[in-house]
Symmetry: C3
Subunit: 478 residues, 3 copies
Amino acid sequence: MNDSTRYFSSDPAQRPLALELYQSAAGLPLVCPHGHVDPHLFADPKYHFGNPVQLLIQPDHYVLRILHSQGVAYERLGIPLKSGGPVEQDPRRIWQTFAEHFDCFDATPTGLWIRDELADLFDIHEKLTGRNAPALYKAIAARLHEPDFTPRRLYERFNIAVLCTTDFAGDDLEAHKQITASGWAGHILPTFRADTLVHIERPTWPDEVAALGNAAHLSVSDFADFIQAIESRREYFKRQGATATDLAVLSAETGAYSVAEMDTLFQKGLRGQITAAEAAQFIAGMVMELARMSAEDGLVMQLHVGSYRNHDLDLAGRFGPDLGADFPVPLAFTRPLQPLLNRFGNHPNFHLILFTLDETAYARELAPLASYYPAVKLGPPWWFHDSLNGMGRFFDQAIESGGLYNTVGFNDDTRAFLSIPARHDVWRRAGANWLAGLVARQIVDMDSARAMMKALACGLAFKAYGLEKFAPAEVRLS
Amino acid sequence: MNDSTRYFSSDPAQRPLALELYQSAAGLPLVCPHGHVDPHLFADPKYHFGNPVQLLIQPDHYVLRILHSQGVAYERLGIPLKSGGPVEQDPRRIWQTFAEHFDCFDATPTGLWIRDELADLFDIHEKLTGRNAPALYKAIAARLHEPDFTPRRLYERFNIAVLCTTDFAGDDLEAHKQITASGWAGHILPTFRADTLVHIERPTWPDEVAALGNAAHLSVSDFADFIQAIESRREYFKRQGATATDLAVLSAETGAYSVAEMDTLFQKGLRGQITAAEAAQFIAGMVMELARMSAEDGLVMQLHVGSYRNHDLDLAGRFGPDLGADFPVPLAFTRPLQPLLNRFGNHPNFHLILFTLDETAYARELAPLASYYPAVKLGPPWWFHDSLNGMGRFFDQAIESGGLYNTVGFNDDTRAFLSIPARHDVWRRAGANWLAGLVARQIVDMDSARAMMKALACGLAFKAYGLEKFAPAEVRLS
Amino acid sequence: MNDSTRYFSSDPAQRPLALELYQSAAGLPLVCPHGHVDPHLFADPKYHFGNPVQLLIQPDHYVLRILHSQGVAYERLGIPLKSGGPVEQDPRRIWQTFAEHFDCFDATPTGLWIRDELADLFDIHEKLTGRNAPALYKAIAARLHEPDFTPRRLYERFNIAVLCTTDFAGDDLEAHKQITASGWAGHILPTFRADTLVHIERPTWPDEVAALGNAAHLSVSDFADFIQAIESRREYFKRQGATATDLAVLSAETGAYSVAEMDTLFQKGLRGQITAAEAAQFIAGMVMELARMSAEDGLVMQLHVGSYRNHDLDLAGRFGPDLGADFPVPLAFTRPLQPLLNRFGNHPNFHLILFTLDETAYARELAPLASYYPAVKLGPPWWFHDSLNGMGRFFDQAIESGGLYNTVGFNDDTRAFLSIPARHDVWRRAGANWLAGLVARQIVDMDSARAMMKALACGLAFKAYGLEKFAPAEVRLS
């Protein structure tokens, strides 16, 4: 199943073109401008991964949620309870449970990534089943302890040019500093994440504000202090190499509010007395503030829109967040973004990358907006849509009217460092296949397709995130 | 046109794989877990159908609406007026009108079903036209009167394993009892339909409540009585073999309300004084109540969401409901279902099957929800989407991220008993074609595809509806 | 790249069928029932186009917006500022800028149209680049001044049967009258556009009402006068050959309001005191009024729904409207259209053609509505969706459940007269390819496909717009 033409159309005219285009990009580096890999993996040159379950199952909510849907309780997967109560401790039993349900991943992106990882990293080419589970566990575990199986060696082997982490606004970035100081040639850059500062409705928000103040060495008691502290922290991130920020919001609502209006909401938030409507207004105002800062300091603004977090309150109560119970909602962009785009949509120093969990916006709103406003670019298929079909829909619906050069290439967006090559490979194969279809239907010629392939594979990502200094000359777009 | 490879991709690699997969399931029985066939067809062993118009045109709102769109008034199709006024009586003239418009069904699912029925049941292989209409009428009419052309014989010939009807909550299920008592080997099970009890805004609702009370031998004067009567009727249905319930609602809204709150609404409904907003609240509360009952009695809960009924008030006034003037509306699921899923989404005895008329929810909300909550499964493409392309979108958008094993196979959902084999055949062909594409693109191997084909064809439906006792051993999934 | 099979699937079974079907319609005339070509092009028999930039770039907001998205300011493209301030004047420099960004149009519909125009009208078969830009400019400019390169000769060469313009309700239609009087055999018909009369929220609305009154020779001081003036102007358009009207609205909302209610809103509008909610109500009421007029005078009603106009207020302020900053919003149809369809949906003299910028409505609401209400037909993919993929989605999502004969063929909807053949060619190729897929999958036979091809190419458009008197006998559908 690891044939060189996998995932390509079986059409006899399209398939060889897809392979040719794919191979034309095979030597290009991976750019990882947005993801959730822990920088500590690279701070310690001798870091080794734990066991196969810690590596492939427990940190991956894509895996956890499908097992959960089949009636496998999180306790059986060894996910720690907040209460400290008993959960499965034996990784071999967890692995066995996983293997016995592996059929449920057939034809899902997670199934493809794991199959590719097993093949490419562990030389395992048989399908995982309940029967071979113990043997495969042993084989993987052995490999994990080999001396070259460290994150730094894998980064080099994966041919990564630059990898951006996502970090709390108040983070001291010690891991990043250690990496820089170590003299290692890899590039691990931080990304400024503002989520916890913006979500004023959360009970933990006042603590987050305090933590921000501590990090910025400022006393934060009003909205003006708050803004100053954020600006100070952005500057700190920039000095450590950051080129971008990130923010996840439920809707794309933006609004222009005065400092006095924002301060009133800010004070209510500190007192824990904010209503849902006021919180939405505060968030809409903060998106605008963060856009203004990006226009000023040049950090690229990533906006991830549409995830309804912690839908299963029982799960969140017992285990905590980020375990697979976040779900998309319907979205609009044209109207909600108008206030922001009227201020900054034509600003030469502002760069906004939009991500959506509602694909219906691709052709309806996002491609039209990105193909008019110079500040707006469209991010790749995100989360549930980071899949062969999701990419196909993105290419067909977003790029046809928006144009390839208003998109930003790929984001692997993962905590699972080992899955990065497999994820980029799916993207490159899907892209090569799409371009081959365009060539086979004489929509573009092979010269254009080759240029588009390079752009998709890494050129667009280098450019959109201000990372071209890490790019080989042949893929630079500006 | 009745070639063995019809509806498959013409790609030379994919087509033979599709045929192989299709044929691998050819001998498997049909499971009909949700539909609207009249059980009386099977109560009388000698039941015969009327004429071709009564069989193929008048009961099928899929047919009626397309003729109507072309300016053919329902009177010309012999649909009875509530006023008793004159309508066309001659079935040969109605048949002629239909035949002269048969081109309008080109490439529609209804066109395919009728073509397949004519070929498979009536050995008619030419296209219906105004010219051959009289001869074909005669041929069909003759076949209808042949001694073996009874519902029971056809059930056997169709290789149906079990067929579930949909029945009013107050139904005495006499037809089902007669079938059981007759000793015939077919399985015709009732399904508990709560629609008329839930739609408190309808003027007929107080009568429906009274009818429920009569059926349950209870005096229903408050909400507690109402709940008790529903529970009693569900128990009655279960004793007659029911394994599922059904409910159709306009939105997926659910809500947790107290008995006192529900009783206030209930009393307003009885007095005919309920507002639209109050009715919506009552319905949201009833969805929750019915979910609670399902968690307790184990009857699978089917929720059909998104049909705006009786849009053409003139039609409804002159002819009555269910004649093709019901239309979909945009839908959301993540937020509206949260109250229900927080109570019962992880309940081991609760089984919720969701159907949508808004396909945008497949990839956005339904597949994500079904691939997390163990209680949630996703029903097949419904109504306007029960078509080759509708199935293709379902496979590509719902199954890729949700996983095949969080879906429930096929529902024919029809009143037209004779169309059942054609409908299942379209599903199996669409499924085989989709799986063949996965194999051709090396996304799954042929072994997995064969297992998935069996599951699609009937294994998933047997399991999801608690009907595995009717399943051949080779397709059982649990 | 101008191969005869361009844009067809490369599947070896489908491609030759597509070519055969495409060629079967090759000789059929173009029908242009909706577009924005200036009638003055045809009033003067010796009219010549200006330079290549005036022809291909400046009037085409599809081109402008993509250049703008890449950071090319409108000033650099020679778009005049309302202030009269300096903008680029040298067409050769503007052409150079365009050529240097032409890669950005790869795989977009605009890129395909321009490539086809260059090939078919200017015999230019190389790709436009910064390098060859001066030479191509010269070649195009030379061709523009050839004696046969007039709109009338091109109309004949393009084999256009009839072309409808879109004209302000108060237009005197002098250009149309001159064309008629000239004895030229071409058919250039006006279309009654009510937009400016309906959009009561715009500051210019009172002036528009006054202009309407002047045109109708009526003093318009209340709603009854207003309606009378509109009716009078519709009659005037009909006498000049109009068969249709056009209206663009943000939502599909319709409402039945009394004359008194409408007059109250009308008076507020005249005083410039109308709120956004009142304006929406007035528009919903006007859609109903215009439908009533259509039912009475028989002019086909076109309703274009979903464009949020002048999103970029800065652009609108500096340059004016219609420059590429209009964007789609999410839409619903079932509920908002109910008031209108309950009054006129079954009216034998009413013809409503619906256009959407939200494709999710195709399968969800539009195809279902069009395949029930005899008055409703579904317009072709519009604007951002007028593309190969947009057409593919339309065929797959709208026609399968709605039926081909509830659609209306193609609209080129363009101001760019020279792009008309390329746009129709894309439609015919997309249509032939879709039909070939149906034949290859044995969904329809070749006879049906040939009939459907003729209908798609022009038969449906002739019929839906009441233009069959201009149709060759072989394509007439009624």
